[in-house]
Amino acid sequence: MSVASTAQVQTELDVERVRADFPILAREVRGKPLVYLDNAATGQRPRAVIDAISNFLSHENSNIHRGVYYLSERATAAYEDARDKARRFLNAADSREVVFVRGTTEAINLVSCSFARSGLASGDEVVISAMEHHSNIVPWQLLCEMTGAKLRVVPMDKTGTLQLDEYEKMLGPQTRMVALVHVSNSLGTINPIKEMVAAAKAWDIPVLVDGAQAAPHQAIDVQDLGCDFYAISGHKMFGPTGIGVLYGRRELLEAMPPYQGGGEMIRSVTFERTTYAPPPAKFEAGTPHISGAIGLGAAIDYLGGLDWGAIHRHEKRLLNHAQERLGDVPGLEIIGSAKSKASVVSFVMDGIHAHDIGTIVDQEGVAIRTGHHCTQPVMDFFGVPATARASLAFYNTTQEIDALTDALIEARRVFGRW
């Protein structure tokens, strides 16, 4: 039946077509086709993002807000339009809950400095998890050092799955903040974040979610998750570097003191007293990354034109293929085997350090990341100095995973016998 087959075609991701949207994927590296498997570090940019930035800089560049001339009005409208796109992407109720920041790191620092600091004292506790990126550890450590509060860490098991019973036991009246990663960058684990937010909410504890690695793989719904803060980085979701979003519940943002002082964030200034603009302007001191925000808006539009269901099915296939093929490489051990996993595969190889693996596969045009992935406690937990990591995006193919597998076999050959 032609109708049925048409429906089938519509639900599957046309990988060759989406690959054509990303100019860099057509290039060669060291005489071989680029196999880009470092998407958890940064995603590639579709033509639509590159063009949006180029068009803005070529035709509309000017500073936003306050300008009364044509270009400034256009730039302001484009910047605020990008904010509304980010609101829709996160399904926030109100665009005033969307603060543009440099990235997830700045978003978390903003919350730890502006929101959490004032309420903390000795005896209070901040809860994070064992699989946090350094950016969701260090700001809270700094805060604890400053206030005398205690940092508690939700443990994980050997598969890289958080122990929810331990988490729930940790929560109580002393818990003043919970900050959790949605998807682990080094293990790929997808945490049951809605359930974890609900457990914290039973104690009325504010929750921040680090969504940097979730946004490139799934639709986000902050209202459904019920979190108070959600942080994302533009460049991990195929937008520009230097731009990200902090979602914050409106009543919290309104009550919070400013993070940085400067232009843009004020209502009126005298030497005696300054009053602040309402959110989000209150948290956007100085001229923001205007072209970055516009580029992020274009990335969100681009993702909006794809089907998350189809992306999910394709990435699931990629993950299964990668785990199967890599699992067949002798002496290779995959680190992180949680049941619920994004398309991220960390691994170590017997007798070959991750850094050597990275150099050898690079000769075949394969780009993977090697090291601790800014998650040193995760490396310590698994007893490895570093891992190699292939992180897959929707534009990757099973053939690219085969290219990685072949390159890993070459690495064994180099280290085994020449």
Binding site: H353, H355, D356, T359, T370, V414, W418
Partner: protein, 150 residues
């Protein structure tokens, strides 16, 4: 794969697999630690000195093949040399891996260390080759802070 063979020469792979002088010294005159936080290489260099002559030298730690082999070959190269000679050798080695020296002129003086000449084609790996030497230099100078290549 010409460049890869340049980097992972047989002598380097051999020293990675069976590093020489890989042990802690019981009563060292000098010890220094070095690390390379980005790739997780960690090394400790131990020295026993007779005056300014390196009477014993060893290392411990973990890291990639380049850093381990470099440490192993270094211990062989500086044993019996004065600390000044060891530092001078480091300068030559450094110049070689940075691609700043004429390879043939240097090769004789560097002996087996010339195996690392290929590192110059891999800028990201230069710090791996240099880590042990920086750490040795710190031990000689008895710098108390751990050295880092970052």
């Amino acid at each position: 794969m010409v460049e890869l063979r340049d980097l992972y020469q047989q002598v380097i792979l051999d020293h990675n697999r069976s590093p020489r002088n890989y042990r802690e010294l019981d009563d060292p005159d000098r010890v220094a630690s070095g690390d390379n936080p980005l790739c997780g290489d960690k090394i400790k260099v131990y020295l026993k000195l007779d005056g300014d002559v390196i009477e014993e030298v060893s290392f411990s730690g973990s890291g990639c093949a380049i850093s381990q082999a470099s440490a192993s070959l270094m211990t062989g190269a500086v044993l019996g040399k004065t600390t000044a000679e060891a530092d001078a050798l480091f300068q030559k080695f450094h110049a070689m891996v940075m691609g700043q020296s004429e390879a043939p002129a240097n090769k004789k003086q560097l002996g087996k260390l010339a195996a690392f000449a290929g590192v110059r084609q891999f800028p990201a790996r230069v710090k791996c080759a240099n880590l042990a030497w920086h750490t040795l230099h710190a031990a000689i100078a008895t710098e108390s802070e751990p050295v880092t290549t970052e």
